[in-house]
């Protein structure tokens, strides 16, 4: 059922006739493009224009050129928000991927019964709303009476002020991310593992390969596309983190802005302080960071091939 268009190049008139003949098809796909034009493309162009302006939403819009960007590059809070976002991303993604792999390997063992039951329970955190997760975790990580501090003091350590401590805030946010996404990614890894044909393992075993060799020479390479999917989606999600810190420590990002992520900073500048121009500059900064990351991921894959 090939859908690739293999017709030879046509004369312009013929293309036009072909298009007219297919006007029904164009009509049926048009809603997406109309919606995208109005609520996708236009806002992006508007965003660029706003980033070059100074506007509080009420007064007149003033064109200021690159001033917002100049300020952005020297704004310590912006850099702090980038650093915070990256730290949270790293301390959540690495343990999350590791744990997800472990869970996937365990679930993939041939004798595990009730696999569907396990999958459902592991997936459950992911369908729970971030708002709910953040509310529950802010209580679990509550500084004076929280469950985590209870465990810590039980083990003989001092309680940690999770809302005011530079690392504490980030750990609490990372814990929410890890809890919410480990199961999801484990299911994705499991699907990848189950796609590897059994005959490959059998052949390797007949050739006398050790378990470790089978793991490094067959499982890991064949799992790479799935790994890439998980890394890319986690990266994009990690750069956009907002609700977790906002609900944990508020719009300011907590004491000293230790929980201030890039999107939280964007939200704060645009919707709390009404600095639409500067907010747009932050949005464009975020977009560039995500693009650079995607490019980096893509380069890594290219090289490995």
């Amino acid at each position: 059922m090939s859908t690739v268009d293999v017709q030879p190049k046509k004369h312009k008139n013929e293309t036009w006739r072909e298009m007219k003949k297919n006007k029904g098809a164009y009509l049926l796909i048009s809603p997406f493009f109309i919606i995208f034009l109005i609520f996708g493309l236009f806002p992006i162009l508007f965003s660029i224009y706003l980033a070059l302006s100074s506007w509080d939403g009420i007064g007149t819009m003033e064109f200021v050129g690159l001033r917002n960007f100049e300020f952005l590059l020297t704004d310590p809070l912006f850099w702090k928000s980038i650093a915070n976002t990256f730290i949270i991303f790293i301390i959540s993604t690495i343990p999350m991927i590791f744990l997800a792999l472990v869970v996937a390997f365990l679930l993939n063992s041939s004798f595990v019964k009730f696999r569907g039951f396990y999958k459902t329970l592991y997936f459950l955190p992911n369908v729970t709303a971030i708002v709910a997760v953040a509310i529950v975790f802010s209580v679990i990580f509550s500084p004076s009476y929280g469950f985590v501090n209870y465990i810590i003091t039980l083990l003989g350590f001092d309680a940690i002020n999770w809302h005011n401590n530079a690392i504490g805030v980030k750990v609490a946010v990372a814990a929410m991310v890890i809890w919410r996404w480990t199961g999801y990614n484990a299911i994705i890894f499991l699907a990848g593992l189950q796609k590897i044909p059994n005959s490959l393992y059998e052949a390797a075993r007949i050739d006398g390969a050790s378990t470790f060799q089978i793991f490094t020479k067959i499982t890991i390479p064949l799992l790479r596309p799935v790994m890439l999917f998980v890394v890319i989606t986690s990266t994009i999600g990690g750069m956009q983190i907002f609700a977790e810190p906002q609900l944990l420590v508020g719009n300011s990002g907590g004491a000293g802005g230790e929980g201030l992520t890039i999107v939280l900073y964007l939200y704060q500048q645009a919707f709390v302080k009404n600095l639409y121009g500067y907010g747009s500059a932050i949005a464009i900064g975020l977009f560039i960071i995500i693009m650079l990351f995607s490019l980096f991921n893509w380069k890594v894959v290219q090289r490995k091939k």
Binding site: N22, I35, L124, T128, I188
Partner: protein, 273 residues
């Protein structure tokens, strides 16, 4: 594999499950206890009998049922529209040839890479200009068709709908929309079911955009209402946890009903080559 290994493996799996469901257990414990339970050390472990008292407090503090109803309306309407427009486009992309088709499809996929935050501020300004602040149009119309939905349906339709069937319909004088309605839709049901649950959950759980465009508490969706409840009651954990529990319950129920198919579809979508 030895018995010992099996025991270790199952223990690990069960510990993982316990960690997965612990916050839910905690949520229920807190919402059935008095709010003072949140301030006792060591923490209270067991269910209390204060659930209905807490429910009453939640209902008194925020228009909870109203928010639930709002969310239901928005999620349902959005899902119906997304299903319709996305499947229409997905079907056309999968089964018809027309000039520029591949370019248009690749363009559709590319739009998925744009982070939503990039257009957040201009979108808000637009909503102000056209008077959609506090209107559900702001939540529904911009997400009318999803690029992911188009992609998902196209992938499915390519394999599931037979060309012979469409050709026969064409000979009988069927128009493209009739083919969609009579032939494609029934076949696409499984793909539509997944898209429906996926979209419904996403809209139900959405937070940032509703937070920005809704000002009137009577218009709040559940997520905004819950965040608001948390802000109102920094100290009354029991009420906040009860609201959160009630607001999470419907979606958990929906997920448990549809989980098997939903999970395997998510996994299939991710490992597609």
């Amino acid at each position: 594999m030895s018995i010992l290994k099996k025991i270790i493996l199952h223990t690990c799996l069960i510990i993982g499950v316990l960690i997965s469901i612990f916050p839910f257990y905690w949520l229920i414990v807190m919402s059935t206890n008095d709010s003072s339970a949140a301030y006792t050390f060591p923490p209270v472990w067991t269910f209390g009998d204060q659930f209905f008292v807490n429910v009453q407090k939640v209902f008194a503090e925020i228009p909870f049922l109203q928010s639930m109803f709002n969310t239901l309306i928005v999620s349902t309407l959005s899902t119906v529209l997304v299903l319709f427009f996305s499947s229409l486009a997905g079907f056309v992309f999968a089964k018809f040839k027309f000039p520029g088709k591949n370019k248009l499809f690749i363009f559709t996929l590319t739009t998925m890479m744009i982070p939503a935050q990039l257009s957040l501020i201009p979108m808000f300004i637009m909503m102000q200009e056209i008077g959609w602040i506090d209107s559900y149009k702001a939540l529904i119309i911009p997400g009318l068709v999803s690029a992911f939905g188009i992609f998902w349906i196209k992938q499915y339709a390519e394999g599931a709908i037979h060309d012979d069937l469409l050709n026969a319909a064409r000979i009988d004088g069927c128009g493209i929309f009739r083919m969609y309605w009579n032939i494609a839709l029934p076949v696409l049901k499984p793909a539509l079911a997944f898209l429906a649950i996926f979209n419904f959950m996403a809209v139900w759980n959405d937070y940032l955009w509703p937070l920005i465009v809704l000002n009137d508490p009577s218009k709040y969706t559940l997520m905004v209402a819950l965040a608001n409840l948390k802000g109102l009651h920094a100290t009354d954990h029991a009420a906040v946890m009860t609201g959160t529990f009630l607001g999470t319950l419907p979606l958990i129920a929906l997920f448990l009903i549809a989980s098997r198919q939903f999970i395997s579809d998510i996994a299939a979508g991710a490992v597609k080559d």
